[in-house]
Symmetry: C2
Subunit: 129 residues, 2 copies
DNA sequence: AAAACGCTTCGGAGATTCTCGAAATGTCGA
DNA sequence: TCGACATTTCGAGAATCTCCGAAGCGTTTT
């Protein structure tokens, strides 16, 4: 029987307790995405998205893969976190923002990266919060 | 297929993302406790404990029962939250503060309420955060 | 080589959270 | 009835979080 500090669990739950981060996780469940793709779906500033991704990675939920000027993030919960995520998905899938995001993501995934990033300079549709 | 807002889920996770609140939940898994009993185990100010309990109740995790001047809180996750809690317990049980709390709670439960509350006036042992 | 591009880091403004002690509320016992 | 008591509410200070735009860093394109 091992004894762990409680902070990692607290940090994980704190990380999960934010709508943008939950939406990112739901998006990545359909496969990896780069920052500008996520940015395009969420309607937040690129720096904000990048910060959320960094925190999700720190919490042990994502892995990153650099490819030229793009950075792709993939859902990859580390050992011992899968059970928590598995029970989370059904709750997440029922929510309105996630349904909407997944639909938007299907379109985004079909579009070449060069085009998406360029497109999202002006756009700022932004689902509130 | 129903569509829910995402905020309730976010609020729940935010509520869970705090060490004192996780420790309270772990305590109550062994049965209801009143504020001064929890206060005695956690070593936080009574008002702080009361506020955490209120938040846990608002999140749909606890129910309260008044008995004279005491208020007993019981673990009672509302429908649709049990699965999340079930997957949380094993993670929580492995942590050092929870193990320590449960041991302290066993002693506290054997002591009459009048005595516990009186005892904890001066005491302020306080596991740091 | 220079410009454009995607992403991250930094600085800061505004909002939220956390904790406590003081004061308020309701209950019990002398 | 009055004082003691358990709990809650309130107010305030400190700490943390969230978001953005500006600036910085590598990579690619021109």
């Amino acid at each position: 029987m091992s004894t762990q500090p409680i902070e990692p669990l607290v940090d994980l739950l704190k990380t999960l307790g934010h709508p943008a981060r939950l939406r990112i996780l739901a998006l990545l469940r359909d496969g990896e995405m780069c920052v500008c793709q996520i940015n395009s779906v969420l309607g937040l500033a690129p720096s904000t998205v990048s910060e959320h991704l960094t925190e999700l990675r720190r919490a042990g939920l994502l892995s990153e893969r650099k490819d030229g000027r793009w950075v792709h993030y993939e859902l990859k919960p580390k050992a011992g976190l899968q059970d928590l995520m598995e029970v989370l998905w059904p709750h997440l899938d029922e929510t309105q923002p996630v349904k909407k995001d997944l639909k938007a993501a299907r379109a985004v995934r079909k579009t070449p990266l060069e085009m998406i990033c360029a497109m999202d300079k002006p756009r700022r549709t932004a689902q509130k919060h």
